[in-house]
């Protein structure tokens, strides 16, 4: 039995096994959700009998579902996610070429969300009940309700078509031209970050209010500690874990919103890939993107847990 951070990581990894099995099974069973004969659905209206037979064999619809699941999983583990039904390109290669655009976008939005959301939350909590607090909480309410893709359209209209400060659409590879890629990703990242700003501001505010109202903070105040020292040394330290957990949960939502934002800004990321492939019934690609994104989310959550345990010994001890 291991203790501390390594022990916690080992335990989390063990817990991930069943989650992975369920997630991969959901991705695998997507083709079985199709009405009618999935092979005919995938092949399309004008497919020949040979093509249908070929697809039936590729997917293994001629074998029992569970058997086929293990075949599929075995291939996926080796990096073989199949081939696009249209371009016949390797699905893994299609995804790997597009994933950096999406990851850049999500990370950029996360950073913007933290940079604006956390200070707003602190500001609102330390000035509870004032006009400023009310303004911040109202903005946060708007931030969760506004459709991010609509905000994207407005940003394009204002800052690309109007002022011409930013390019309206497109993306640049982060590996070839890092600075330019960030410039291109700015408007979509802003549109994407609004919900993160709103959620972080709200959660940081309420977590901080709870800590600041607690018994030991009152004791510190009675001992004569300045409110600045209380906030920075004790208040924020205790909400750090909350912030990290919330930010981790937001990654999941950001990949969701990225699917639409990438369409607005014509970014060739995995979000665009999955919606285009879903429209065209290119099933291996749809499954591949869903699989890769669910793995990215699961690993992000693991990372958040590990970071929390590293910073806060109580988390590791309770594992």
């Amino acid at each position: 039995m291991m203790y501390g951070v390594p022990g916690m990581v080992a335990q989390r990894l063990m817990q991930l096994v069943p989650v992975m099995i369920v997630a991969t099974f959901v991705v695998f069973s997507l083709v079985y959700m199709m009405p009618g004969d999935p092979a005919m659905m995938i092949a399309g209206d004008y497919a020949t009998a040979e093509r249908i037979a070929e697809i039936r064999h590729i997917y293994g619809f001629d074998r029992p579902m569970l058997v086929q699941y293990f075949f599929w999983l075995g291939n996926a583990v080796q990096g073989d996610l199949g081939h696009s039904l249209f371009s016949n390109e390797s699905v893994l290669r299609l995804i790997l070429a597009r994933l950096p655009h999406t990851v850049l976008l999500v990370l950029y939005a996360l950073v913007l969300g933290a940079v604006f959301g956390i200070p707003l939350g602190i500001l609102a909590a330390t000035r509870q009940g004032t006009t400023l607090d009310k303004v911040i909480t109202s903005i946060a309410s708007l931030g969760v309700a506004v459709p991010s893709f609509w905000l994207g359209i407005i940003l394009v209209t204002l800052f690309s078509l109007g002022y011409r400060w930013f390019p309206a659409t497109g993306a640049v590879s982060v590996f070839e031209k890092p600075l330019e890629s960030i410039y291109y990703a700015t408007l979509p990242a802003i549109a994407l970050s609004t919900s993160v700003v709103a959620v972080l501001a709200r959660q940081v505010r309420s977590a901080l209010l709870e800590v600041l109202g607690s018994q030991y903070i009152r004791t510190l105040r009675a001992k004569g500690l300045s409110s600045g020292a209380i906030l920075w040394k004790h208040g924020l330290r205790n909400v750090a874990a909350t912030m990290l957990t919330i930010a981790g949960l937001q990654v999941n939502r950001l990949f969701s919103s990225a699917v639409i934002i990438e369409a607005v800004f014509a970014i060739p990321g995995v979000g665009n890939l999955i919606s285009y492939s879903a429209l065209n019934k290119d099933f291996p690609v749809v499954q591949g993107v869903a699989l890769v994104l669910v793995l990215v989310v699961i690993l992000t959550n693991l990372l958040v847990d590990v970071l929390n345990a590293t910073f806060d010994p109580r988390v590791a001890a309770s594992a």
Binding site: A23, L30, R253, S257, N301
Partner: protein, 301 residues
Amino acid sequence: MTDTNMTTMTRTAAAPAARATLPPPVRFWAWLWGDKRALISLAYLSILILAAVFAPVIAPYAPNKQNLMDLLAPPSGAHWLGTDDLGRDTLSRLIYGSYNALYAATLAVGIGVAIGVPLGVFIGFVGGWIDQVGSRIIDGVLAFPPLVLAVAVTGALGIGLTNAMIAVGFAFAPVLARTMRAQTLVVKNALYVEAATGFGASRLHLILRHILPNAIQPVIVEVTLMLAVALLAEAGLSFLSLGVQPPESSWGGMLARAYHYVEVAPEQMYAPGFAILFTALAFNTLGESIRVLLDPTIKRR
């Protein structure tokens, strides 16, 4: 003891005794009057529902009536919100779109409830290995970015509004199941459940009469907030042309067309966007108000 007695008792403990004796409709209006945000949200949503139901009566034009002499017209006396790229009246399409928006949100959340609530109660009540397996399934589905799952499932079921919303409901189900399971675990150990068991109540009776009514409260709040999420999902999926199919009108689809012609008629993108924003805001505000109503110990955030 019946469940109605039970809920009255819990409420009496929290609310002033005098108020609790008033008939429910009076208490409802008193609450609404006291919570202006809930009042405004509910009023807005009521108007929206009326607009959706009576769309054929209210809308000044037929939603799909094209007028190729009057394309992308700015707002005017004849067309209050202007016309789209096919010369269709924007206001009329907005009114008809409200039906699709409300239908979509209700359908998605309804499916989430229909799968999630029974599943959560069942695994929480039975416990043991069934609970273990059920909880892992919930975790596994929850790991997906909801809209990615919805896009993938819509692709499988076939594009269109109803299928898209079934897909969204599928992504909602584990969220509700998790809440319901946690609540069931708390409630099933309560004294009154033990008492009912002692009187020889069947398991089904226990679940339906005692556990469900007492565990459902947080789900009511969650469901109201989910209506906003479902609305945004419908708009997004229709924007991607995976949801409502043309020529049917939807707010998300209207935004997609407006975006196409944004350089010619930028004003076309405002009305559908504000419609989505206000409706999502109304659901969220109402959800927060219900949260405060059901649990008076927490203050409005």
